[in-house]
């Protein structure tokens, strides 16, 4: 029997995506440890990484990092294939879709903060829609809107400011 050799060569881009996804997963885990009074409201710190990657390496890399973070983060937290995972996945996909469009807005007018806000609202909007259509059918979620949209506004703003701050610094990953 001839020994089969399967060789997987990781390109520099693969390594970069893996490293950034690891950072995003780390943030997801860290924020899961933060006690929050209301289920469903969390800061979404990993989206800072998504925004950074979007600006530095483009949409494709950002989608990889976000996708890996959602799946691996859910696996580590024991949420894989649960409703929470479905919400995280659909919210993430819609955010990425919005970002794919929004990143072509004129840079002079729209910065990281604007993109972060758009992504946050897309994220929570999709999640509330899924909750309404699938998890709590027939129950009016209208009463939850101000709370969740308010939280999305705040976290979108803070994450956008964090991303803008980090984007202003020289990249460390480029020298690696």
């Amino acid at each position: 029997m001839t020994p089969s050799t399967i060789e997987l060569t990781a390109s520099a881009e693969d390594r970069r995506i893996a490293g950034l996804a690891a950072a995003a997963i780390g943030l997801t885990l860290a924020e899961a440890a933060i006690p929050l009074p209301i289920p469903g409201v969390k800061p979404g710190l990993a989206n800072i990484v998504t925004l950074l990657v979007l600006y530095r390496y483009g949409w494709r890399s950002a989608a990889w990092v976000a996708g890996l973070r959602i799946i691996a983060g859910a696996l580590v937290l024991g949420q894989f294939l649960t409703p929470a995972f479905v919400l995280s996945l659909t919210g993430g996909m819609m955010s990425l879709a919005i970002l794919a469009v929004a990143m072509h807005l004129p840079r002079r007018l729209f910065g990281p903060v604007g993109l972060s806000l758009l992504a946050a609202f897309a994220h929570i909007g999709t999640q509330l829609w899924i909750v309404d259509a699938w998890l709590l059918p027939g129950v009016s979620i209208l009463g939850l809107l101000p709370l969740f949209l308010g939280a999305a506004w705040l976290t979108g703003l803070v994450n956008g400011l964090a991303a803008a701050h980090l984007l202003g610094k020289p990249s460390r990953t480029e020298s690696v």
Binding site: P39, P83, F110, V113, G114, L117, V139, G150, A152, L157
Partner: protein, 125 residues
Amino acid sequence: MLIAARGLFATFRPGDWLLAGAGLALVGGLWLRQADSLEGRVVVRVDGQVVETAGLRLNRVIEVAGPLGPSRIEIQAGRVRVVADPSPRQLCVRQGWIPPGGAAVCLPNRISVENAAAGYDTLNY
């Protein structure tokens, strides 16, 4: 502190301000709309017009005058019921405690009592 804040907001571009403002207006508008909704309260109507709303947390007796005479509505330990009503068949009184999301209608005295509390527990999801 001020300089740090200025540095922070220097990253805002015109469109960012616009989006942040629009988002805030949306949230604020929804909040205001929410503020005068009757969700989570006991709503008493005579002839379809709201005459009294009350929270479920405070024990109290509400007297409302209908065309036939006064009805007494009791809020007790987070529950609500119609205690007395002049309507001949006493359907709304015999209904007992009104479940969350339910209502009692006293006819022909034209009084309705709605328990507009949410009938579900979101935390369980």
